[in-house]
């Protein structure tokens, strides 16, 4: 059924093959994290350990953003060239983490 060499039949196979491996997770709210995947379920709820979270803080102090009020971040990205965005990055580490599945956008296993 699957013509590719990786031999996965459904998307969750990709996650299953990443158990006990360090995965990259992209989340809603401009957050990314890497951690060791211990468990997951059909909602993509995740249990991660040894987690480093990276939070992108979009500064709207750029000229185009002056005077605009409560512009949503992804709209800012769409309207203003990236060089005008002052990106502040915050990082934090957590030993063990439960990630609620509905916040997950993308999960990438380590490259094999």
């Amino acid at each position: 059924m699957d013509p590719s060499s990786s031999g996965i039949q459904e998307p969750f196979d990709l996650i299953r093959l990443s158990l006990s491996e360090r995965v990259f997770v992209k989340l809603r709210g401009d957050r990314e994290m890497t951690g060791i995947l211990h468990a997951y379920d059909g909602h993509m709820n995740l249990i991660l350990s040894d987690v480093e979270e990276t939070i992108m803080i979009v500064d709207t102090e750029s000229p185009e953003a002056q005077g605009t009020v409560s512009v949503r971040k992804h709209e800012v990205f769409g309207l203003i060239p990236l060089q005008y965005l002052v990106l502040q990055v915050a990082k934090r580490k957590m030993e063990m983490l439960f990630v609620r599945g509905d916040g997950v956008i993308l999960v990438s296993p380590p490259s094999r």
Partner: protein
């Protein structure tokens, strides 16, 4: 009772079937693009270009050789990527089917 007229034949109220030259259902399209290069656009406007490995009924997607594009620029590359289906806006075929 027996000599009452039979009920009239049912009206042709069902929608006509799609013409035979139709290229197929959405499911047929998705089956056709598995293994092909695709562009997946998310609700956030981010594009993922790569080879579609497989997908499921939630439109969860597994992709290979994936490039993340934001505002036309490559912002990340993933050997494999799982995309949670609720984020998907569309899947576009990037090569002939």
């Amino acid at each position: 009772m027996d000599d009452s007229p039979p009920p009239p034949p049912p009206e042709e109220s069902t929608p006509p079937p799609p013409p035979q030259t139709h290229t197929g259902s959405p499911t047929d399209f998705l089956k056709g693009v598995v293994g092909k290069r695709v562009i997946v656009r998310l609700n956030s406007g981010v594009d993922y270009r790569g080879i579609l490995s497989c997908l499921d009924g939630y439109m969860n997607i597994a992709m290979e050789q994936t490039e993340e594009h934001v505002n036309g620029k490559v912002t990340n590359r993933y050997g494999d990527a799982f995309i949670r289906g609720n984020n998907v806006l569309y899947i576009s075929a990037a090569e002939a089917l």
